[in-house]
Amino acid sequence: MIHLVLVGTSHHHAPVELRERVALDREAAEALAARLAADGCEAACLSTCNRTELYLATEEAEQAEREAVDALASLGPEVEPALYRLQDRAAAHHLFRVAAGLDSLVPGEGEILGQVRLAHELGTTGPLLDRVFRQALHAGRKVRAQTAIGESPASVSSAAAALAEQVFGSLEGRSILLLGGGKVSEQAARNLRSRGAEIALVANSKTELGRIDEELVGVDVVIASTSAPGLVLEASTVAEALRQRRGRQLLLVDLAVPRDLDPAIAELDGCYLYDIDDLEQIVAETLSGRRREAERAESIVAAEAEKFHEWQASLDVVPAIASLRARAEEIREAELQKAESLLGRLDESQRRAVEAVTAQIVNKLLHLPIVRMKQAAAAADGVLYAEAVRHLFGLGEDER
């Protein structure tokens, strides 16, 4: 039997200092998978900032696991205790949870699906790993389609972008004014740009900050994150700009502490002001929503893992089924040849009719035993049944 073996570590088991030791770039992950597959097994390496996992498919599960542990342990002396080891059904279930984003730091995050796809593409895969990775990607897509686990923003920057979409709808062609250049505001701007918005001005210097008044008339979103000790933008300045905007709405996001934007701006008609606390509340709320959705996602993943287990178990009886079919076909053809000499010459349509009838008899006779063998395989009796079939039908040693 071919086993699925998983050895790896993730943010649940290893702190960042350890994870960065085992984090592999694209080339290194591909090379490691190729090295582990050199002995004839299948191998794939999934490496992200939160996890590094090796998936192997082989008949020698213990040996493969040892090799995978050695490969990861060689990256750092303290790595081995943080490694987890799973096999077959548990390993597949784990991969499906990973692809669905259920094992991620932020439940339902979407990036992991692309990373699983990449691991599959870079791996040295065969029938089993191909199957398990394809099914994992399918499970991941299904979870995202059938639950709302990935719908809401999970970071302050994406919450700012989601709020902008609540006000403006499509952000295509909307312009952003960035006050200051903090990391979070840059991320928020990047998020807005990925949705089609454009940056009108990044006001970092005193001169640029002096241009705020005129820029306020034209922009749609203001993101502030300066390190100024006091307010950078007063409500009166915004009120003046609003008069010239002819009713166009303005979204202001204040990511700075202490705040850059006058809280009185929130009272102005046509203005929507959010500070860092508002955004963090949105993130907290959506994360709790994601956790609720995760319960539904778990049942989808469990069903997919069960399907994989049934498929993997059926591999035990596949050779016996193939031998049985081949033997039956051999007998049918031999008997047909005998019959032809007895019945005399048959025309083409008669020959086709006889072929069809005999094939149907064989199929009907074999149908139930084959179904029962597959059922037995799913219930772990597959090998026993396969042996019994070989014995009963006299299937030779060479077919094993």
Partner: protein, 262 residues
């Protein structure tokens, strides 16, 4: 036959109204069931209107009660254009209970049966009654969109933490859709009212309360268009004006018809 079609339409609209309430509590299945309720109910009501027109050989919605029947159909038809989309389900919370109530009132007034053919010509009724009702249906939807705008705007200001819990169209989308709906409806009302006035003058009949309030309604909605297109009104101010215009539509449709149709 009309009876056989009225009840499914009413029940399906009712199911949709209940479904939309359920969708507010737990978004998902109830919302989908509500959308199907609207679709199937609309089909049943369309068939009902078809039967009414065929039996009476013309335009049988010239009376107060039967015009309400047609009005409900027009409102639901316009709602169906966006209502099937998930973010607009909240609109159904306003539109569908209203449709159920008005359809029930139409039935109570005998407007959902057959035999309501008017002594007016079909052409006059189609142009006058048909266009005025279509315009009012448009104003009803514009008001619903504006109501949703006011509600969502308030949420954006007061409870940002839960703002993303429910899928609602963006403020800019609601604002633009309301404007577009009114821009289609005002010309329809203008034409419908003009035809009625011409007939009034030709026949030398007198103005009644409904005609006077309809004229005020027309003025309010023209002002809405003018202020939005020329005065730069958007957002909350425009939404409140639309809601004020809708109050007049309600008065015209429900409080004054007796003075006109009599």
């Amino acid at each position: 036959m009309a009876e056989l079609l009225f009840w499914p339409a009413l029940l399906l609209y009712g199911e949709a109204a209940v479904g939309y309430f359920g969708d507010v509590r737990r978004p998902g299945r109830a919302g989908r069931a509500a959308t199907w309720g609207v679709r199937l109910g609309w089909l049943a009501q369309t068939a009902l209107l078809g039967v009414q027109a065929a039996r009476d050989d013309g335009f049988p919605w010239g009376t107060w009660a039967s015009s309400l029947d047609l009005f409900v159909w027009l409102v639901v038809s316009a709602y169906l254009i966006w209502g099937c989309r998930k973010p607009y389900r909240l609109l159904g919370l306003v539109v569908m209970p209203l449709a159920v109530a008005l359809l029930a009132v139409a039935r109570a007034g005998g407007g959902t049966g057959v035999g309501s053919a008017s002594h007016y010509s079909n052409l006059f009724l189609v142009v006058h009654v048909g266009l005025v009702l279509a315009a009012f249906a448009g104003f009803t939807l514009a008001a619903a969109l504006s109501g949703l705008y006011v509600w969502q705007e308030k949420r954006l200001r007061t409870s940002p933490a839960t703002i993303l819990r429910r899928q609602v169209p963006a403020l800019a989308t609601l604002d633009a859709l309301a404007l577009r709906t009114v821009a289609w409806s005002v010309p329809l009302l203008t034409l419908g009212v003009a035809v009625g006035l011409v007939r009034l003058v030709v026949r030398g009949e007198r103005l009644d309360a409904l005609i006077a309030v309809t004229a005020v309604t027309w003025l309010v909605w023209c002002a809405y268009l003018g202020l939005r297109l020329l005065g730069g009104w958007t957002g909350r101010r425009a939404a409140y004006l639309a809601l004020a215009g809708f109050v007049l539509v309600v008065v015209v449709r429900l409080a004054l018809p007796a003075t006109h149709f009599a």
